[in-house]
């Protein structure tokens, strides 16, 4: 599939936006977590600051999100992982509500009840989960619904290479194959399941080697390159839209930050990230766009500026939003049923 200027530019803009978002979050996340404001002896306080809790950032993994989502519309479903920001941004989840959710604010996607691993946006058919391997069964269900409704909508289940060793992976691939569900299973192989390298945890070199076990196609993308991901996805999307069933895609991608912010990364060679950054996928796409004369240096500067503005504005919105009333913790256990929920307590 020949990729046109419009898609290339879209992917570039989204990658720039994602990268700036993650770098901004990395900085904001550390606010209020470092000495001297906290207890003696602590290196860092995970519960402090405006964005508390765990934080899993996806800088370096942008090609997977944009290469896949460039094929999707609002009718298609994406189910992401515990590291979900790049998917959400690429799927069109509003930055303001998403960021406010991470700040725990009432204006957040989940009114502050979900946090960064649990982002839900019905309008853009986006959700994610903090449980490794949990995206796949749910994406089978949204795909099943599309099939039953007679729509050609596609569902994407993103997961990491570590999740390919979960039972949910095997059950879901089999189920989707048996029922010919319009789902694409997209594995982000960033080589690290927290601290355990793929080579020590996975019985095959490529997760896609397992596709044959379920009688479905497996497509490998060896480079962390948005165009390569886009091209690999094309037949998988077409297959799903035509009712021919699922495909397993695996992308060899790079995680620039630790598993979570504050991860000492003692398991990782010291210069690994510096080396990975040498072949940064954003620079790669920028080069391509300029070679094809799709983007001038001035246009590139404008793209970066616009992305930075959107992100900065979203963080400002999140900061200035109000926290929910503490009593709101008691609502929303069930839908349309607040009286009942409160009576339970």
């Amino acid at each position: 599939m020949q990729i046109g200027k419009e898609k290339l530019m879209w992917m570039y803009e989204k990658m720039v936006e994602i990268r700036y978002y993650e770098e901004t979050m990395a900085a904001v996340y550390m606010e209020g977590k470092l000495p001297p404001s906290i207890q003696k002896g602590l290196a860092f306080d995970i519960g402090g600051g405006p964005v508390p809790g765990e934080m899993h950032l996806a800088a370096g993994q942008e090609p997977v999100a944009v290469g896949v989502c460039a094929h999707l519309s609002d009718d298609d479903t994406v189910v992401g992982t515990h590291r979900p920001h790049h998917f959400a941004i690429a799927k069109g989840v509003p930055l303001n509500a998403m960021t406010a959710e991470m700040f725990g604010k009432v204006t957040g996607l989940g009114k502050g009840k979900g946090g960064h691993m649990h982002l839900f946006d019905n309008a853009h058919k986006f959700s994610c989960s903090g449980i490794v391997g949990a995206s796949m069964p749910i994406a089978c269900g949204t795909a099943l619904a599309a099939k039953k409704m007679g729509k050609n909508w596609v569902s994407i289940a993103f997961f990491g290479e570590g999740a390919a060793n979960q039972g949910s992976f095997h059950e879901s691939l089999n189920l989707a194959a048996v029922w010919k569900l319009p789902v694409v299973f997209v594995c982000e192989d960033n080589q690290w399941a927290i601290s355990v390298p793929k080579s020590k945890a996975t019985s095959v070199q490529w997760v896609t080697d397992r596709a044959a076990g379920y009688g479905i196609p497996g497509i490998r993308v060896a480079d962390n390159d948005a165009v390569a991901v886009f091209e690999a996805m094309a037949p998988a999307i077409a297959r799903a839209r035509h009712g021919e069933g699922p495909t397993l895609i695996e992308v060899r991608t790079d995680r620039y930050f630790g598993h979570f912010q504050g991860d000492p990364e003692t398991y990782r060679p010291k210069d690994e990230v510096a080396q990975l950054r040498q072949r940064d996928p954003i620079g790669l796409l920028s080069k391509l766009l300029k070679e094809r004369r799709f983007m001038s240096a001035e246009e590139e500067a404008a793209v970066v500026q616009k992305a930075q503005h959107r992100v900065t504005q979203a963080f400002a919105f999140a900061r200035s939003s109000a926290y929910p009333d503490a009593q709101d913790a008691l609502a929303d256990v069930f839908v349309q049923d607040h009286a009942f929920t409160r009576a339970l307590v």
């Binding site: 189910v79 749910i138 269900g141 089999n174 929303d332 339970l344």
Partner: protein, 346 residues
């Protein structure tokens, strides 16, 4: 006069599902052996013939995948009825149940609606041993986000199932094997009763007084209600008037009905087939303890439940750990020892 139509609980459940499938095209059923077999315990009998394999789907033995798929399908606008064959099997799929089905509505701030009915078989009494005989409803009621329905008879089962399917929230519908009216398992006959043909709902969260009484309240649910009714009949002969309360649902729990009855009788016996520790019977005892300013007890609260051992296989062992009719009778007599002594003296 029209004769009453007596149905088994299995027939009543499948009829409710069939009527909802007819009424609402977004309702569909999936699970292991729910198609041509009609469900191992008959809860989906006849549905495949009526609705075809697109709406009555046999699944692979992959509970994580298909229960997770129910959550996904519900988030996309359908209303799945999905079966976990035995509740004992929850260990292979609990992540999808309690981390996703039960929590996604809350974590989305109430924006994600998940109208899923998860049906499952519970209970022992037929020597199926520790991995196929548990009730475990307390585990699901303990964790927020799932309504828990535990019917004791066909009439209630139909109305509660219809309400469950129409509910916009996840509902766990737990049916006891020993009251389904199966042709291959002895059952307590009180569970088969008159069931109207037309669809009707019983609101979730309303307990039912099965029999009025003045001497003690027996709070119960599921098959144990039928045992309690038999016990109450025997107690009647000894001039002990037991009020039998069927909880019908654990989430929501009809606390007012429990308090009202115990305020009247002053004595409480909880008859339960789940484990004794950290469960339903303790919850109800706590409810009474928290309301002692308005409830005056004539005797301490008494609990009958499975002692904290796995369900044993051998018949005498199993019958020992699961409360029987005679256990309920004896417990009631113990609660009323004062009244019985007075009567004997008179």
């Amino acid at each position: 006069m029209k004769t009453e139509r007596i149905l088994t609980m299995a027939q009543a459940i499948s009829e409710a599902i069939a009527q909802e499938m007819t009424r609402d095209s977004s309702v569909f059923v999936m699970g292991e052996d729910i198609g041509s077999y009609g469900g191992i315990f008959g809860a989906t009998g006849g549905l495949l013939d009526k609705f075809g394999k697109e709406r009555v789907m046999d699944t692979p033995i992959s509970e994580t995948a298909f229960i997770g798929a129910a959550t996904g399908a519900a988030s996309a606008g359908l209303r799945p009825v999905v079966e976990l064959m035995f509740v004992d099997f929850f260990g292979v799929c609990m992540d999808q149940i309690y981390n996703h089905l039960a929590k996604n509505t809350y974590m989305s701030g109430g924006h994600v609606k998940l109208p899923v009915v998860l049906t499952t078989a519970i209970g022992g009494g037929y020597n199926d041993a520790a991995q196929h005989s548990q009730c475990l409803y307390s585990i699901f009621a303990h964790m927020p986000g799932i309504k828990v329905v535990v019917p004791s008879n066909a009439y209630d089962a139909k109305g509660l199932m219809t309400a469950a399917i129409r509910d916009d929230n996840p509902v766990l519908f737990m049916y006891h094997k020993g009251i389904m009216g199966l042709p291959w398992m002895a059952y307590l006959e009180g569970s088969s009763n008159a069931v109207p043909e037309e669809a009707y709902t019983i609101p979730l969260g309303q307990a039912k007084v099965m029999q009025e009484g003045t001497d003690l309240t027996i709070v119960s649910l599921s098959q144990m209600v039928q045992k309690a009714m038999l016990a109450a009949h025997q107690l009647q002969g000894q001039s002990i008037h037991a009020e039998v309360l069927d909880l019908r649902t654990l989430v929501p729990l009809d606390k007012e009905a429990i308090l009202k009855s115990v305020r009247k009788t002053g004595r409480l016996l909880i008859a339960d087939e789940d484990y004794l520790g950290f469960g339903l019977s303790g919850e109800i005892a706590a409810l009474i303890a928290e309301n002692l300013d308005t409830v005056s007890l004539k005797a301490p609260v008494m609990r009958l439940a499975v002692p904290n051992v796995p369900i044993p296989y051998s018949r005498p062992l199993e019958q020992f750990v699961i409360p029987q009719v005679t256990d309920i009778v004896q417990a009631a007599q113990a609660l009323l020892v004062g009244k019985l002594a007075k009567a004997a003296a008179a």
